[in-house]
């Protein structure tokens, strides 16, 4: 016969133990997701997408970690063999990281899940492929487009966005006559490079410099001449942190940015957001642009690779990508996801004939640094000799390419 005392003890013991006895199906796999810091719009979009993922995958809990210096912190984690399960992989450094042997080849997961890659725009997959290995799936795309401020354009009597280089030049003349800065664009290869292709040249072919071509020379000459005449101004010259800020403060009539500009303007400069129109970059020999992309990737030493793959499959699948891009921070990298309303121009830019993704090869960052340092130096000189400047930029940048 159980004494009353032992009954009470038994009940108390049970009450203490019960919270720790979780039912078997509540076992959660925690997937750590590491991203870089971004804007409120992007944060909202990502949280929303993650939420829809977790609803469909109740056993997976996604824990987000925001890095303030994504590159440095990821490398520290790689080196100590404790990388997060999933993380953002920037196209510009993807090949460098892949060459270090720290990324997981996703091919076997793709095959095992029968995940079709045909819907992806091929050029957005390219930066993440080495040989037959695939190290990341592009989560979105962002080609550069031309944005114009209708109010400022009207002041100079310009009715439509220029579509050719010649039209841009005449529009610039009209704007300069009214003391309005035509275009704010940074002396950065990730902006000016967009014109190399439309002039018939290139930034790089494979890992070799494409800067010595006549097309690139022509593009650079045009760009530097613009800086000299004041048709182009860098954000620093307009006291802005970046071109989008200058555009929002109405310090320039045009700029060239991607889809990230739209939510930024809506938040910080709503008046300008309302009077903005978008079009393709002014075309030289052909229309074209430069497109940016980033992927989700898994580390070789990550712990929960299967759950991580489930997450990637969703976020780069039609549904997940749809949620992410619906906030208008980027356009889809898949053709079976609808382009969000208001971004048709961005969608067209992605399809243009000479639109390319930014180059990606081991040592690309060194080339970027060389071009930017030399170009900014040339541009700040009031007495710049354009031909000499172009030659210097081409030689210094080409020297930075991998041998």
């Amino acid at each position: 016969m159980l004494s009353r005392k032992s009954l009470i003890v038994g009940v108390v013991a049970l009450a203490l133990v019960t919270p720790f006895a979780t039912p078997a199906n509540a076992a959660q796999t925690v997937v750590t997701l590491a991203t870089w810091g971004s804007s409120p719009a992007e944060t909202e979009a990502l949280n929303d997408a993650i939420a829809t993922f977790e609803v469909r995958n109740p056993t997976i809990d996604v824990q987000q970690v925001v890095h303030n210096d994504h590159g440095a912190q990821m490398i520290a984690k790689f080196a100590s063999k404790t990388p997060p399960d999933v993380f953002y992989l920037d196209a510009g450094i993807a090949q460098d990281w892949a060459a270090q042997g720290i990324l997981e080849d996703l091919t076997k997961y793709v095959n095992a899940s029968n995940f079709s890659l045909t819907a992806f725009n091929k050029s957005y997959l390219a930066p993440f492929k080495t040989g037959s290995a695939l190290y990341g799936l592009p989560k979105d795309a962002n080609p550069l487009v031309l944005e114009g401020n209708k109010t400022l354009m009207a002041r100079a009597g310009i009715k439509t966005l220029p579509t050719t280089i010649a039209q841009f030049d005449s529009a610039a003349k009209l704007l300069l006559a009214k003391k309005i800065t035509p275009m704010c664009v940074d002396a950065d290869i990730n902006r000016l490079g967009a014109y190399f292709y439309s002039f018939g040249g290139s930034i790089a072919t494979g890992t070799k410099s494409g800067l010595n071509s006549a097309g690139t020379k022509a593009a650079l000459t045009w760009a530097l001449t613009n800086y000299k005449t004041g048709a182009f101004k860098t954000p620093a010259q307009l006291s802005a942190g970046w071109a989008g800020e200058a555009f929002g403060k109405e310090l320039c009539a045009f700029t060239m940015e991607g889809a990230w500009l739209d939510p930024y303007l809506r938040d910080a400069f709503p008046k300008v957001a309302a009077s903005m129109i978008k079009g393709q970059l002014p075309a030289a020999k052909s229309a074209g642009s430069l497109a940016f992309t980033a992927a989700y990737a898994i580390g070789k030493d990550s712990t929960n690779k299967d759950a991580a793959w489930a997450f990637i499959q969703y976020m780069t699948g039609a549904r997940g990508m749809g949620v992410w891009t619906s906030y208008g921070v980027a356009i889809p990298s898949r053709s079976d996801v609808a382009i969000p309303v208001g971004y048709e121009v961005n969608g067209q830019a992605a399809k243009a004939k000479t639109t390319v993704t930014t180059p990606s090869f081991v040592g690309w960052n060194k080339v970027i640094d060389a071009f930017n340092n030399e170009t900014k130096k040339q541009v700040q000189d009031k007495n710049m000799n354009v031909a000499k400047a172009v030659a210097s930029i081409i030689s210094k940048t080409s020297a930075a390419f991998p041998k």
């Binding site: 870089w36 810091g37 971004s38 804007s39 409120p40 992007e42 303030n68 210096d69 440095a72 912190q73 490398i75 520290a76 984690k77 080196a79 100590s80 063999k81 404790t82 942190g241 970046w242 989008g244 800020e245 403060k249 990230w260 930024y264 938040d267 910080a268």
Partner: protein, 279 residues
């Protein structure tokens, strides 16, 4: 007129006031920006159109995880580091200055040498060490990672040593002849006379840690451990900077350091050496 002493004295005070105002302008600017609306920030007017406390409300309500956690973490970490660093530096500084032991000068050179190794170079290896020691964790041992890195400061040891070198030997001689142990000499005689340098080390260490982002951003793993500088990051988007809340946070962060400095002032100045030296 220029030889008139009083005139020169007043001119000096005027100059010092001007310089003080100049030194104060950044802080005034921060206060002013924190009371503006985002759209006014670039108007370059020192006085905001209307006193707007929205930025402060944002800081107290929207910061992750919440303002008091950041503040308490900063306070906790800075206090522990100050205690660790000051005690270790004082003891080591005294030893280097006044004790004779073999290898003393070589060890001191080594200490100096560590100041010549940049943090950026140590980043990855230190992270690897901390991972091996299991201090990269979501639990409370995470703080130990920071304490480990910051416990020893070569600059503090150096400063203490230089200071102890200037104290007259007569101070200890009496105690030494009496047969006091070195530790007792340190505790009973050197420390009380070291108030200026201790106050200096305390204020510098506290301030350095209060504003530090480099090591905390690498070591601290969860928002529950974040310190105040992480708060500033939250208003710095990839593109746009939300100035008023950043400035509000800067103002709020600067106040404790300022108070500590004012409080410690009386220890830095006008400490009379022990009366046994006079006459």
């Amino acid at each position: 007129m220029l030889t008139n002493l009083k005139f020169r004295a007043n001119l000096l005070i005027l100059g010092m006031l001007a310089y003080s105002l100049f030194s104060f302008i950044p802080f005034l600017w921060s206060i002013s920006t924190s009371l503006k609306k985002q759209s006014e920030v670039f108007n370059d007017s020192l006085i905001p159109e209307a006193l707007n406390v929205d930025a402060y409300i944002t800081v107290f309500t929207k910061i992750q995880p919440n303002f008091f956690t950041l503040f308490l973490n900063s306070l906790f970490i800075a206090t522990v580091v100050v205690i660790l660093q000051t005690s270790l530096a004082a003891i080591a500084g005294y030893a280097f200055a006044r004790l004779n032991f073999p290898g003393r000068d070589v060890m001191f050179y080594l200490v100096l040498g560590t100041m010549m190794i940049p943090d950026q170079l140590r980043l990855v290896p230190i992270y690897q060490v901390l991972v091996k020691l299991q201090l990269i964790t979501d639990g409370p041992m995470n703080y130990a990672g920071i304490f480990l890195i910051k416990a020893v400061s070569a600059a503090s040891i150096f400063l203490m040593r230089q200071y102890f070198l200037t104290l007259p030997r007569e101070l200890e001689d009496a105690a030494r002849i009496d047969g006091c142990s070195p530790f007792k000499i340190f505790y009973k005689i050197m420390l009380p006379n070291a108030k200026p340098v201790i106050a200096t080390v305390v204020i510098l260490t506290f301030q350095g840690n209060w504003n530090d982002l480099f090591w905390p951003s690498i070591i601290l793993q969860t928002p529950n451990h974040w310190t105040l500088p992480f708060g500033i990051l939250q208003f710095k988007g990839q593109f746009s900077t939300d100035w008023p809340p950043i400035m509000a946070l800067v103002v709020l962060s600067t106040l404790p350091v300022l108070f500590l400095y004012i409080f410690l002032q009386k220890y830095i100045i006008n400490m009379q050496l022990s009366s046994s030296l006079k006459g």
